[in-house]
């Protein structure tokens, strides 16, 4: 099933680490993909700009896997739409 949001987030993560998107799966941890703390904050910065959302510091600290990132973004977009 096509999931455009998933593809977009994976695209941003892939670009951050300069690797093909198809080498990233939802279960991958950010650490095993080579994300250090600076990679995480710069990638979150990209995601915030792209989706016009704001991700709290505590939320950023709780991100462990690719799925955490995708679902976190999905939830924040949904909240934004609900509040709009």
């Amino acid at each position: 099933m096509s999931d455009p949001l998933f593809d977009e987030v994976i695209g941003i993560l892939a670009a951050a680490k300069r690797r093909p998107p198809d080498t990233i799966s939802p279960d991958n941890s950010l650490v095993e993909l080579g994300f250090d703390s600076l990679d995480v904050i710069t990638t979150v910065f990209e995601l915030e700009s792209k989706f016009k959302i704001s991700i709290s510091d505590d939320h950023v600290r709780s991100l462990r896997t690719v799925n955490d990132v995708v679902e976190g973004v999905r939830t924040l977009i949904a909240e934004k739409t609900t509040h709009a």
Binding site: D36, I41, D58
Partner: protein, 406 residues
């Protein structure tokens, strides 16, 4: 020339805890933080709300209009601290002494607040010009230059900018110039004034600022709290200070530096270990002789655990029996001025026999398993102490102090 002992004969300080040495000490020994909602800058749209500002600061109380126009807030703090330091030293600045006195200051951001304000004109208000004093206000050496000009000091004068280690590097360099006989006096320390909208936004993006307060070494610590202020010290050769009957407030006995060569923001254990060991070696001290460490202790999850591991590694068994506190929990993290504020806290602690606490303390993080002084100052007669500074960019600087009576 044999190595000379280096006495601290003057001290001046301004920060969130007070406008002079007495006020700051009263807050430190009471464990009373100067952290609260940021007032000097519009913080709407910012993810964090609290800082450690010099509240109600009035430039006109210290500088006339012409002078103030030339001085960014960070340089004002440098001058205010230097004035108090010189006054408390009781030293008489002769022509000869002015030629053999050094000024070494530390600052990470310099006058970037002035630059930030100037660029609002340019980029937001669409003005075509920037104020002509932007450059002299912004330059990181403005503090050192203004101190040299105000007091007519014409010896070696410069500024060190190594992020959060700036002040410790400055104190260490001044200490060595006196110890080695290069100069007969030094004014050294550092200052910072990072409260401007652009800089706060940049720190917000780093995601290292706590949304409530600063709780170093606690399980629930959530980051640092930015602070502002400055501290300056008058350093003299021990024998000169004694000969003129100066009130010696403390002694600098060693200085150690290192680089992590690891990561630009993530802390390491090995770099701090090397710098603490270098300071001990420089001072000719055994680890067991240290009774107190004023930790870098930023309150970020990364720093505090790494620093605790580094202290464990350097001090072994003794790590459990030396007292540790982070006074950043009270005066905030003044970045390039931090080492100077913490040197002041350390020197006063040794002098008074009272070790300031880590304020806002909740529960000790097992990963920071040290004897952290929690919330209340501790009476303890300590002869030797270290003050740690570890900077972004992996640059570490540690100063070793001895109580004046020693």
């Amino acid at each position: 020339m044999p190595r000379r002992r280096v006495a601290i004969t003057g001290m001046g300080i301004i920060c969130a805890l007070g406008r002079n040495q007495q006020e700051v000490w009263a807050a430190l020994r009471a464990g009373r933080p100067g952290i609260g909602p940021i007032e000097s800058v519009d913080i709407s749209g910012l993810r964090f709300r609290n800082g450690a500002e010099v509240r109600g600061y009035d430039t006109a109380a210290y500088f006339d209009g012409n002078r103030a126009a030339l001085l960014d807030r960070f340089a004002q703090f440098a001058l205010i601290a230097a004035r108090e330091a010189l006054q408390s030293s009781g030293v008489e600045l002769t022509t000869q002494l002015r030629e053999s006195t050094a000024v070494v200051t530390g600052s990470s951001m310099g006058g970037q607040s002035s630059q930030d304000a100037g660029f609002v004109d340019l980029y937001r208000l669409d003005r075509e010009r920037v104020h002509p004093l932007t450059i002299p206000r912004t330059m990181a050496n403005a503090g050192a230059s203004q101190i040299s000009m105000e007091f007519g000091i014409v010896g070696p004068t410069y500024t060190i900018s190594t992020a959060c280690s700036s002040s410790n590097h400055s104190l260490g360099q001044a200490f060595r110039m006196i110890r080695d006989g290069d100069v007969e006096m030094a004014i050294a320390g550092g200052s910072e004034a990072p409260f401007s909208p652009g800089l706060l936004k940049a720190w917000e993006a780093m995601r290292v600022i706590s949304t409530d307060t600063c709780r170093p070494f606690c399980k629930d610590r959530r980051g640092m709290i930015l602070g502002e202020g400055g501290a300056m010290f008058v350093l003299e050769p021990w024998e000169t200070a004694r000969a003129r009957g100066a009130r010696i407030q403390g002694e600098i006995v060693g200085f150690g530096m290192s680089a992590d060569a690891y990561h630009v923001t993530q802390p390491s254990v090995e770099g701090p270990v090397r710098s603490m060991r270098a300071a001990l070696r420089d001072a000719g001290l055994q680890p067991e002789q240290i009774g107190y460490i004023n930790a870098h202790g930023t309150g970020t999850p990364g720093n505090d655990a790494c620093e605790a591991s580094a202290i464990r590694k350097v001090f072994g068994q003794h790590a459990g029996s030396l007292a540790v506190s982070s006074t950043k929990s009270m005066h905030g993290h003044a970045l390039g001025g931090a080492g100077a504020l913490e040197a002041a806290a350390t020197v006063m602690a040794l002098q008074e026999g009272i070790l300031p606490p880590t304020a806002n303390f909740t529960t000790l993080d097992p990963e920071c398993d040290l004897d952290v002084i929690q919330n209340h100052a501790r009476e303890a007669s300590v002869e030797y102490a270290l003050s740690n500074s570890f900077a972004f960019g992996g640059l570490n600087a540690v100063v070793a102090f001895r109580a004046a009576a020693g």
